[in-house]
Every structure is written in structure tokens, then in C-alpha cells.
Symmetry: C2
Subunit: 193 residues, 2 copies
């Protein structure tokens, strides 16, 4: 039997958390790549830093500048695919997600508290970037903002909510498992690598 | 002056080659992520291995199985964005490319010779995968093929031809340069990181 019994929890997410532990000595194990699609249908791709899981223990958190192009792309198309390769354990998670953006205009008290909490955990250097001139604009255009303690309007949180996971393990015996969320349950089965 | 004089050669590609040298002690410096778009407009993303440059010294070479989903995606939309992060030098190249697929049906003698040459350079283990059962299909479906010396029909070469590069350097002083190919010349300028 390749098809496992549909379950409320996702075995691939359990494996992802195990990979985070097993690769923690790699300085870059929290970096992954996030692909979006522009309004014109072109792919875009960039490296981001994983900031932890949401309270649901499932959604991945990423921070971004509201002035960045990915915000425009996500307003048009909230679908993202994450490619997360762990070098030590030689395994890859391709995670299809639906993205929610949390910024200063959010109506949810819980979301605003989470945004505040992630902000407080950032280093000074990471915070400083949100007060810089507009990313992607020619240098020396626009003014840098005065640094504040509270999260500035430019600071946004992305919640990446997984709907499908493709987990490939490249160790001695290669394995590959596909997981899909349907009607609130995870359907998982093994496929050829 | 942010805008540099348009040039037939691309400074960002020179920097990419320098990054390959400077990061060569990192076991994974030749891995990058490749984003495509499905016919339905969804982003897809995966880690691939850089196999060198084409004779034009500009296009990136990647190998793939013709039975993989990215082949279907590329037939619909040849646009790809590469995200290539170098951990040692802390720099990222986001490379927008147009992709050409070279397989056993190619009409160009030069392309077929290149495909043969890349095949000959592969390890036994890398070659073996092209004789496995269909990737992404449920396990135990289909038959594995007999191993041959010549490249099998499943073996394809992707030529990723850069049309734009976004080079971000995260060392002490962060810098970011955008490069775009227009009418055969590269236009490059500095932007805010």
C-alpha cells in the first residue's frame, strides 16, 4: 500500500521539523527559496530566512519589506512554492503554500501580536533594513526613515500555509513522498524519486 | 552615475564566475533553485545542480529527466528564474532566463554533441537515475530500463539563457546591481538593497 490513511497531521511536516533539528549546525539551514508568479505570468525566485512556525504549528513565517516586489506579486497570486534543501541530511522539501500577508493594517489582534513578537526577536541589523531607502529603487533616491522601536509600516510578516509537500531524500536509498491537504486531511503516498 | 554604459559583456556574469571560484570549497556551491510556472499559473520550485556553462560562456547547463514535470511546464512557459545563494561569500544571484531543452530529437549537431559530452561526464550513480522508473509516479509502477552506455531518451539538457540578473551582496556593505539584456547589450545599474 503506497497510499497511507488520510490524517489530520502531516508526516512530511514532522519530517521537516526533524530536518530542522538534524541540520541545525549548518549556518544556513533556515534559508529557503520562495517562488512566486508575476501578473504577467513570469516566475520569480529568492532566498528568504525561516522565522519559525505560527501558533498552528504548520504555517511557515517569513518577514519582508512591504515595498518589495514580492508583495505586489502575492496580491495578484497568493500561491508560492518553497524549495528547501538541507545539505547535511541531503533532503529537499518542496512546499506549495497559500500566503497571507500580515502588516500594520491587519484586523486580527492575534496577527498583530505575532507581527510585534517577530519584530522584537529581530537583531538590530535586521530591523535597520526596514528603515532604509526603498529596495530595488536606484541608489540615492528617497530618504532613509528615522529608526523607531515599534515595527515600522514597511515591516510585514508572511504566513506560508502548506497545502502540498514533496519530500525527496537523497541518502543511500532515495525516497520521495507526496503529501496533499484535501478537506482538512493530509493524503500521503510514496512515489518514484 | 548609477547607470553604466551598455556593454556586450555582463559584469554580473563575471561576478557569478568569481562567486563560483570563491565558494568552491562549499560542497553545495553548484546547487541552485529553479522556479517555473505551470499551465494553471502556479509557481514550482526545485533544487538542481549546475553542470557548467555552454560554449557561449553565458548559458547555464542543467540536466533533467524528460519524464519530469518541469519539462511539461517549460513547454508551456520557457521563462525560469534561478535563485542562487552562495553561503561563503553571502551573495545571491537571481537570474531570469529563457530555457531551451536539448534532447535526443534535437536537430542541431552542436547541441547533440554537448548533450553527449555532459552525459559522458556524469557519475555512474547520476546516470543510473535516467534508467529508473518514472519519477513522480506511484512506486512499483512501470519498469526500470536496461542501462546503456549512450544517453537514453529520458536524458535532457536544459540551456538557461540569462536575460536579467539581480545580484545582491550581503557582506558588511550591502550592494545590489540589476542587469538587463536589451538588443544584445547589457544595461546595468545599482539599486538600493
Amino acid at each position: 500500500m503506497n497510499e497511507m490513511t488520510p490524517n489530520a497531521s502531516c508526516e512530511a511536516l514532522v519530517q521537516l521539523k526533524a530536518a530542522l533539528r538534524k541540520n541545525r549546525r549548518d549556518a544556513h539551514h533556515r534559508y529557503f527559496q520562495m517562488a512566486t508568479v508575476t501578473a504577467e505570468g513570469h516566475p520569480k525566485n529568492r532566498t528568504v530566512v525561516f522565522r519559525g512556525f505560527c501558533a498552528d504549528d504548520t504555517s511557515l513565517l517569513v518577514i519582508t519589506d512591504r515595498r518589495s516586489e514580492k508583495i505586489v506579486e502575492l496580491e495578484q497570486n497568493a500561491a508560492v512554492e518553497v524549495a528547501w534543501y538541507f545539505t547535511r541530511t541531503r533532503e529537499q522539501f518542496r512546499i506549495s503554500v497559500v500566503t497571507t500577508c500580515v502588516d500594520y493594517r491587519s484586523q486580527s489582534k492575534e496577527d498583530l501580536a505575532l507581527r510585534e513578537q517577530v519584530w522584537q526577536q529581530l537583531s538590530e541589523a535586521a530591523r535597520a533594513q526596514f528603515f532604509w531607502r526603498s529596495p530595488g529603487r536606484p541608489v540615492d533616491t528617497g530618504a532613509a526613515a528615522a529608526i523607531t522601536d515599534a515595527p515600522p509600516e514597511t515591516f510585514a510578516l508572511l504566513k506560508l500555509n502548506p497545502v502540498a509537500i514533496d519530500h525527496l531524500v537523497l541518502s543511500k536509498v532515495q525516497t520521495r513522498r507526496l503529501s496533499q491537504l484535501k478537506d482538512g486531511r493530509w493524503h500521503e503516498h510514496w512515489v518514484n524519486p
